[in-house]
């Protein structure tokens, strides 16, 4: 076959010219730009005798006589229209009849486009005759395989995976460089600064689906020489990391939306509920004034007090919905936490819980509202105390990593069930089985931390217990001296 390239496509036979000179001349003519050859005539030739057309095109491209149409143009053309133009026997690859096969061929053509792009790039780097183009010729030296790919007659073997002819043996080191650059061009949407823009993030997702990148990685691994592979993999790893960061920011955006919706609810419900509360409390107060029987006086006072209790819950919710403005100042997180632990020592002692600072952290300087941040950390400690009930141990760790400061409150009480984790910061979400997250404490903490531009994370410890971690951006240190 190598000696006499003969291609058989169904009932058609194509005789390809053995002479390079003949092939090149034909190819130059074939690839020449209008007015010599219009697009229509190029299509006509392609339809008339595709194997011949492609063969001479490849020969001409390799000859270095620089036809004005490049192989890349041809490949792009094929990718776009090729399937419709190719005159294979009716039925065998009609995309309408066999959509699956059509897709498969389209996928292969797309791979061909990628490769021809690489070839074009190589041409720029190395001049006219290039390894990439030679690879195309190598492809033609195995015409049965090539036909199988294009025509899909042996689609089972061809599959959609990287064809055998993409194997490393066809590549020289320069090709690796080109592939690496092509991978660098895989488009990843820029990080959206607007976390509200959930739809925008979604819209950009299909371009960088993990499958797409993994596929790129797979193809790359076929081609990679070991020392090159390291660099590609680094690039791909970075892209995959960006992708997972995008997914994370999407999850965070959903969380922010959820909490915003709750705030709206809180604001609305507050007004509606306070009106009847005012009537209940007021009537109880009026009755209490004239009541002398001690039993009834107690009951009336109770009605009044409970109505006021509901009012306080509403007030908490309102605070959650519209928190007061932060009054930021530079402060040492370690000092703040130390003070807080001293403050809570007696409360912890009441239930015989040991509460302490982990290790001996140094200064961790941040810009924050000391009052509100103290409320946030305190509510985590209270949550831990409630979870423990009696005894146990609470450790609070202060630290910094990268550009983030952290406060982690760990306890050895019951951990948090997976189904509770996504809801634990919701106002009044009651995970009573675990004795955690009752009331507004964690919601308040979440809100304050978010206002500070930080995050609140919850995790179970290995063994037992839970750890809540506040992460805050580190303040600028003007006196930074390494």
């Amino acid at each position: 076959v190598i000696v006499l390239p003969l291609l058989v496509a169904a009932s058609q036979r194509s005789w390809l010219p053995m002479s390079d000179a003949a092939a090149v001349s034909l190819g130059e003519w074939f690839l020449a730009d209008p007015p010599t050859r219009s697009l229509e005539s190029l299509v006509g030739i392609l339809q008339g005798d595709p194997p011949l057309a492609l063969w001479v095109a490849l020969k001409a491209d390799r000859s270095g006589s620089a036809p004005s149409r490049s192989l890349a143009d041809l490949a792009a053309l094929l990718a776009e229209h090729g399937l419709a133009w190719l005159p294979w026997d009716a039925g065998s690859i009609d995309p309408e009849i066999d959509a699956g096969l059509g897709r498969q061929i389209a996928a292969q053509v797309a791979v061909a486009v990628l490769i021809s792009e690489l070839a074009a790039e190589l041409a720029e780097v190395h001049g006219a005759t290039t390894a990439g183009q030679a690879r195309f010729l190598g492809l033609l030296h195995d015409p049965a395989q090539w036909l199988a790919v294009l025509k899909g007659t042996s689609s089972e073997q061809a599959g959609i995976g990287p064809p055998d002819w993409l194997a490393p043996r066809h590549f020289d080191p320069a090709a690796h460089e080109a592939v690496e650059q092509a991978i660098c061009r895989i488009r990843v949407p820029p990080r959206s600064s607007n976390t509200q823009g959930v739809p925008a993030v979604l819209a950009d997702m299909p371009d960088v689906s993990p499958e797409c990148l993994e596929r790129g990685l797979e193809i790359a691994s076929h081609w990679a020489a070991p020392h090159r592979a390291a660099r590609w993999l680094r690039v791909l790893t970075a892209k995959l990391a960006r992708l997972s960061a995008l997914e994370q920011s999407f999850r965070e955006a959903v969380e922010v939306e959820k909490m915003a919706a709750m705030s709206e609810f809180a604001a609305g419900a507050g007004h509606e509920i306070n009106n009847p509360l005012a009537v209940i409390a007021g009537r109880a107060q009026l009755l209490l004034r004239d009541e002398t029987a001690p039993e009834r006086r107690r009951d009336l006072a109770l009605i009044n007090a409970q109505a006021m209790r509901i009012h306080e819950m509403i007030a908490d919710l309102r605070l959650f919905a519209h928190p007061p403005e932060l009054e930021r100042q530079s402060l040492d997180l370690t000092v703040l936490v130390r003070g807080l632990i001293d403050n809570m020592q007696s409360l912890a002692a009441e239930q015989e819980t040991a509460m302490s600072l982990a290790g001996a952290p140094g200064e961790v300087r941040i810009e924050a509202d000391p009052v509100q941040l103290a409320v946030a950390i305190r509510s985590l400690c209270q949550n831990a105390l409630e979870a423990l009930g009696q005894g146990g141990r609470i450790e609070i760790a202060v630290g910094s990593e990268g550009n983030e400061a952290s406060v982690a409150v760990c306890d050895d009480g019951p951990g948090i069930l997976p189904e509770q984790r996504s809801r634990i910061f919701e106002p009044f979400y009651s995970a009573r089985q675990a004795g955690r997250g009752v009331g507004m404490g964690l919601s308040k903490c979440w809100r304050i931390v978010t206002l500070h531009g930080g995050r609140l994370e919850v995790d179970n410890r290995a063994g037992s217990g839970a750890v809540f971690t506040i992460r805050l951006p580190l303040g600028k240190r003007d006196d930074d001296t390494d």
């Binding site: 306070n274 009847p276 509360l277 005012a278 009537v279 007021g282 009026l286 006021m308 009012h311």
Partner: protein
Amino acid sequence: MVEMKTVFTTGEAAKICKVSQQTIIRCFDSGQLKGFRVPGSRFRRIPRDQLFSFMRDNGIPTDALESGKRKVLIVDDDAELVELITDVLERDGRFEIRTVNNGFDAGMMVKEYHPDLIVLDVMLPDINGKEVCQRVRADHNMDDVRIICISGMVEDDKIVELRNAGANDFMHKPFEVEKLVERMCHHLDIETVHTS
């Protein structure tokens, strides 16, 4: 039963006559309005009958003095709450009460009734409380009208806005009914503790 007040300060007399305190002091000092000074001080006091003849002689309507009651307008769209406040004030006995349930009627009633004090819900179905305040304050005949706003859901910055719009005071719902009466008395310059 309400105990009739027998002696008035110049401030109280000014409110009852709907003139400025300065005018009362001038009339007192010129002898047009008879009274006495609290022994050991310079505080002026006006006995009820003297005030009555002063008002009659000068053509000032005397009904405010006759009833001795202060006029209160309650504005809230929640009927049960209006009923509660009405009950509380009626039991107190020192207040004459009218009620409306929207901002438009409130505007009409302020002009017609000229209350001493308005208890004003901020969230009304039509015109909001802030606007009612502004409309009352736009009419200088109403400068002496005191306004206490009440609301179930008002943030701190909104309270500042209400005060800027002319509200004298603000209370959250639900409130202690006695606190409300206390605040009303404070703004009307009448005794806080009242036994009925």
